[in-house]
């Protein structure tokens, strides 16, 4: 250990004091708000309250396997995430490519596209809940104007359409975010590769596939990663739009965790479910990074 002894000599100690002091408040906050709760939630996920008192057990984790609600909610979460992500990405990319061109009114379109993203999710939820009301909502009202029979279009109340409805609202709100990040990425691409491609006689499609897309990869990776993490833990808009219903049709894992914790007061089970979600999110994120980075290398 000669190195560490040298590291902590008197001279160094003095030099280390100031940075340590600067770091201390941040570390204290992190410890109190992040690390302590994390350790605490590991603890309670391994405990169960019984008549005899608190016991250490893996019961919360084994219970997951026999809990049909948990797996259904997990399934809903993935359907929701995959569908919303696909639409948001394709639409966002399309819009970014379109508005990266010199078209008329570009500034106006760019600005107005950002409005949904600026609104609080709660407001978006409430507004869409009203718009999707089967009897006096704007959506069915508009469809009726076009002579469409809306009798069976009950949107958030229909087990078939409810999931579609909540996905549509998410796409409406978050496509602008994807668009914004990808547009920034597009604008950071230098002109030279395009000029080179032009000289080499590449078609527009080839240019897009071999020049734009590879150079946009870092932005794509960032936006997919952020959206996936957000989608997997979606809570607020579904809570307001359907509260997981009708029946269980739009219950996602976050809603189920919330219910377990704050309605049923089963914090241990809620913590166990949260760790499963955390693990899955990590695996998915790592896969993304490997896929996208791997191809680059």
């Amino acid at each position: 250990m000669p190195r560490s002894r040298r590291f902590f000599n008197a001279q160094n100690k003095r030099e280390l004091l100031l940075p340590a002091l600067f770091l201390a408040p941040a570390l204290a906050v992190l410890l109190a708000l992040s690390i302590y709760p994390l350790i605490y939630s590991v603890t309670i996920s391994l405990q169960q309250e019984t008549a005899a008192g608190v016991t250490w057990t893996l019961g919360n984790f084994t219970r997951l396997f026999s809990d049909g609600f948990f797996w259904t909610a997990m399934g809903h979460t993935f359907v929701y995430a995959v569908a919303a992500l696909t639409f948001e990405f394709l639409l966002g990319l399309g819009l970014a490519l379109l508005l990266n061109n010199q078209i008329r009114g570009r500034g106006f379109f760019r600005a107005s596209l950002l409005v949904p993203m600026m609104l609080p999710t709660v407001v978006v939820g409430v507004v869409w809940r009203l718009m999707l009301n089967p009897n006096f909502g704007a959506v069915n009202g508009t469809l009726k104007q076009f002579g469409i029979n809306t009798e069976s279009l009950t949107w958030t109340a229909s087990p078939k359409l409810a999931m579609l409805s909540v996905i549509a609202v998410d796409v409406w709100q978050w496509t602008p975010f994807v668009f914004l990040v990808l547009l920034a990425g597009l604008q950071a691409i230098p002109q030279e590769p395009y000029e080179a491609a032009l000289i080499d006689g590449s078609s527009r499609w080839q240019t897009f596939w071999h020049v734009t897309l590879p150079l946009l990869k870092p932005s794509i990776l960032i936006v997919l990663l952020l959206r996936t993490m957000d989608l997997l833990r979606v809570f607020d808009q579904i809570f307001i739009l359907t509260e997981g219903g009708p029946g269980f049709a739009t219950e996602t894992i976050s809603l189920y965790i919330y219910r377990a914790a704050f309605r049923f007061f089963d914090f241990g089970y809620a913590a166990a479910m949260s760790f499963v979600l955390l693990a899955l999110t990590n695996v998915i994120s790592a896969t993304y990074i490997r896929l996208l980075e791997g191809r680059n290398a």
């Binding site: 004091l17 100031l18 009897n135 009950t154 309605r263 049923f264």
Partner: protein
Amino acid sequence: MRTLLLTLLILLAVTCAVSCTGQPSRNQLTVAVISGAEGEALKQAARDYEAKTGTHIEIAQFPYANLFEKELIDLKSHTGAYDLIMLDDPWFPRFANENVLTELTPLMQKRGQSGPDPDFVEASLNVCRHPFQTGALYALPYVGNSQLFFYRKDLFEKYSLKAPATWDDVLAAAKTIQEKETGSKTYGYVMRAAQGNAAVADFMPIFWAFGGEMFDANGKPAVNSPEGIAALEFMLQLGKYSPPGYASFNADEVAAHLLQGTAAMSINWPVWISPFSDASRSKVVGRMGFTTLPGAKKPGQAEIGNWLIAIPRYSKNAEAAMDFLLWATAPEQMKVSTRRGNPPTRRSLFTDAELVAKNPAYPVQLRSLESSRPRPRTPYWNEIENAFGIFLSKANSGELSAAEAMNQANAEIEKILQRAK
């Protein structure tokens, strides 16, 4: 360097000194109340009490969705932050079971009262006892809600229908009204079948009237009994006369349909009575009738939904809290609370001539409350209601048949009880 460290330490010490010395004073109470008319009434009472006695009362107000969690977290961690809490009666078994409430009778005896005033409606006092009806008293009833049956008097007269006494009458009337009232589209019935509390509250009166019981004599879940399945089948039939999308309806949607005159009947709570006579909100002023719940095999019974006030076990001011509690639930104060549309829990107020003149539905409300029934008294009610509501909503949205829904609900309730052991 040393100066910097010293400054930081002093700063820390000062912040701590400022924040850590706030000891609760003797003449101060903290009350957790619900946002809405029920909580506003207690808030008003607190202000009046403050002016009268000088006891400072701090109010912590929470929306329905958060009140339960705030109170239970606080009570379970023994912080004693609240001296009085408002409780919805289905939560009571959970709180009583956790042993976090103060028994009230000893505090009453100290004040020369042998027990709660016999003027309180018995059904309301029953839900304040643990175990139900027979046990010790841990709360006092403050707002005496129980379900009522709302129906359009004018349409019933138009088609010479009698006020519905049975669920068969209801179905027949719904059919008649919906078929004949074609000029202005009017649905025969409107109900809430959103998963959770809504679907369960609208189903229980049908379930009970058809002879269903959530638990059998041995305490085993029995919602999939033939009676239970018949009750759900009946609910689905009634659903054919309810506006499309009712499987996601909550109180607001039901009220909107009734106030707009687009639905003719529903089960509802007394808080919605007064909006019907408000011409700025209602298109059916003077046309709504109120009666007790219809029966079937058994006489109709409403679900009770009282707001209770309790004193947490770890309150540091239980005596002062008791004084305020007795004052706020006394006839004079409760009469003030009724001005906000809160039904009382005292017989003398339900029959008070002045109040009856203002609230013509009071006699019906009293009958409904006296014959009401609580939701099954179990500390696991939140879990059970959630699971049961999911399957009721699934049946009403057409995802499951009545028998499938009840069988799956029964299995799920069984699981919840098994886990609880």
